[in-house]
């Protein structure tokens, strides 16, 4: 779990991690918001269902895959936060959505 410090970079951008709203500094990533929110897991693996949180934070490991603003399988560590962004955990493999 990570915490913000009283810092020259104020937490000004409001995002939603799961259903919880929190503020993070401008220029942070969705993965940083996940760590700051203290979520127990951002996804469960498709193979064994084991919980994962971000590991590398630099686009290498793909363990931070999340549903961001309704789009699944996004690398949360590569997505810069925007006001109102919704970051949701992903369970197992992404389900294909075929429009009716």
């Amino acid at each position: 779990m990570f915490a913000q410090r009283p810092d020259p970079r104020p937490a000004t951008v409001e995002v939603f991690v799961g259903d919880a709203a929190l503020r993070v500094p401008e220029g942070s990533t969705a993965a940083a918001a996940v760590m700051l929110a203290g979520l127990p897991a951002i996804r469960e693996t498709p193979v064994n269902g084991s919980p994962r949180l971000p590991y590398c934070m630099m686009g290498i490991c793909f363990d931070c895959l999340a549903e961001i603003d309704g789009v699944a399988n996004r690398q949360a560590c590569m997505v810069t936060v925007r006001p109102g962004m919704r970051i949701a955990p992903q369970h197992g493999a992404r389900a294909a959505r075929v429009p009716a």
């Binding site: 990570f2 913000q4 410090r5 970079r9 500094p25 940083a32 127990p40 290498i60």
Partner: protein, 462 residues
């Protein structure tokens, strides 16, 4: 059409862009991050005044990025932030890109890969548990969000970055409780000749002094250090709860930060089919390049840590050298001018690499880091494949990571083998009693990063 496309806006890419633009080349810089600096100087324009990040980051890093911004102002550089290269046609020099405004392509006369380094995977039992991260990940959280780990933090592994991070966390008010250092007994004695050769210690004295200062500062801040640790394990139910090691060592922990040095990010250079060599000293794959960073392919060059680990200052030198060579190849700079302009960069490069042979030997990862001994340890995080399964595949006839893929799906998950490729090669090599070079490097395929079907469909025709 651009003269020189540069992939990556870290120290190598920035130095190359500045040099190439000053020679009149049109330059396009492609970078996945929203701001220049690479991993080492990530978010430096926003975070340089953070007291926890004072030092090279706040001074040299900020200065390099300022020079890049000034070069953009002066003209000749098209900087495309938040943009991913997902395919490169090496016949026509066509780059397929995905940016914030969608997919598109770009034709370049020459392409410089400045993709930098990634942390070496540290496959210990339990390394997939939530709250086990790399040391670099914690540093990125500090740079990008001003965040620090809460509770009891333990660092494990070895190398200069761990001491730098310990010092930065201490300055940020989050001193790690414990460092479990994995450098084996006797490593220093064995590494000494490499430091004495070529006056490496003398020429690298500033770097050595900085290292000593960092070590003293983190100990002073209250971080305990246990040396010569082997048999690290991360344990817990659904999250990290404790860390154990050989000899009955055990500690509770909320966050574990692992680090065993960095290796070149060769995902794209391997996908392009460029020849790579297994570096026996740095224990990693590196693309074959000449003294200018040029690969055997007429279109492609590699600069910075992506061509072999040398650190950020060496990367600025190799970036500038690759830019000079690009100008020469494109007929904008005569050979003699290229060679004379290269002199200061070659001096810098020699100075910055002086200490490297000593550091490479001192902090060489233990054999168990390259190929975990415990059969139950996960090596492929995506597909959750264990070292034992890879050994079984080797016994059945898998000769390298490209064959293991078909047996086990290692390298077929979302990371495309970025994390497991080197480990799978090392496990197979050990099981079959062959050198890692013979097991071979994993050959990824495009797209280098996942793109959606919609993005693919949006590509302009032709």
């Amino acid at each position: 059409m651009t003269d020189l496309a540069i992939i990556g806006a870290g120290p190598a890419g920035l130095a190359a862009a500045i040099e190439a633009a000053s020679l009149g080349l049109s330059v396009t810089v492609i970078d996945e991050q929203p701001a220049p600096g690479g991993q080492i100087f990530r978010n430096v324009e926003r975070a340089s005044s953070d007291p926890a990040l004072a030092g090279e980051y706040g001074s040299d890093g900020a200065a390099l990025v300022r020079r890049f911004r000034a070069a953009i102002q002066a003209g000749g550089i098209d900087y495309r932030a938040s943009t991913t290269l997902w395919h490169l046609d090496t016949v026509g020099g066509v780059l397929s890109l995905r940016g914030e405004s969608g997919t598109g392509s770009l034709v370049a006369q020459r392409v410089l890969l400045a993709t930098g380094a990634q942390e070496r995977p540290v496959p210990i039992p339990g390394w997939t548990l939530p709250n086990v991260l790399t040391a670099g990940a914690a540093q990125i959280l500090l740079k990008q969000a001003g965040a620090v780990p809460r509770g009891r933090t333990v660092l494990a592994g070895q190398g200069p970055l761990l001491w730098l991070l310990a010092d930065q966390l201490a300055k940020a008010g989050a001193t790690p409780a414990l460092l479990l250092e994995t450098t084996p007994r006797g490593a220093l004695r064995q590494a000494l000749p490499a430091g004495l050769a070529g006056a490496g210690f003398w020429r690298g004295r500033a770097m050595l002094a900085k290292g000593a200062t960092l070590m003293a500062a983190s100990r002073r801040a209250g971080m305990r250090v246990i040396s010569h640790v082997t048999g690290l394990r991360a344990e817990g139910e659904g999250r990290l709860q404790r860390i154990t090691w050989d000899g009955g060592g055990s500690t509770e922990a909320d966050t574990l930060l692992l680090h065993e040095g960095v290796i070149p990010s060769t995902h794209v250079s391997r996908a392009l089919g460029l020849p790579h060599q297994w570096d026996e000293t740095q224990l990693c794959w590196r693309p074959e390049v000449d003294a200018w960073g040029a690969t055997p392919h007429p279109l492609l060059a590699v600069a910075g840590d992506g061509a072999g680990i040398g650190g950020w200052q060496a990367a600025t030198a190799t970036g500038a050298l690759a830019a000079l060579d690009a100008a020469c190849r494109l007929g904008r700079l005569p050979e003699h001018a290229r060679d004379s302009r290269a002199v200061p960069h070659r001096h810098l490069l020699r100075r910055m690499l002086a200490l490297r042979p000593f550091l490479d030997r001192l902090y060489a990862p233990a054999p168990g880091v390259l190929a975990p001994a415990d059969d139950d340890t996960i090596v492929c995080r995506c597909e959750e494949v264990t070292a034992g399964q890879v050994r079984a595949a080797a016994a059945l006839g898998a000769t390298g990571p490209n064959q293991a893929k078909a047996y086990l799906r290692t390298g077929m998950g979302p990371c495309q083998g970025r994390m497991c490729g080197t480990t799978v090669a090392a496990v197979i090599a050990q099981a079959r009693g062959i050198p890692i070079a013979e097991a071979g490097a994993l050959r990824p395929r495009a797209p280098f990063k996942p793109i959606t079907v919609g993005e693919l469909a949006d590509l302009p025709a032709g």
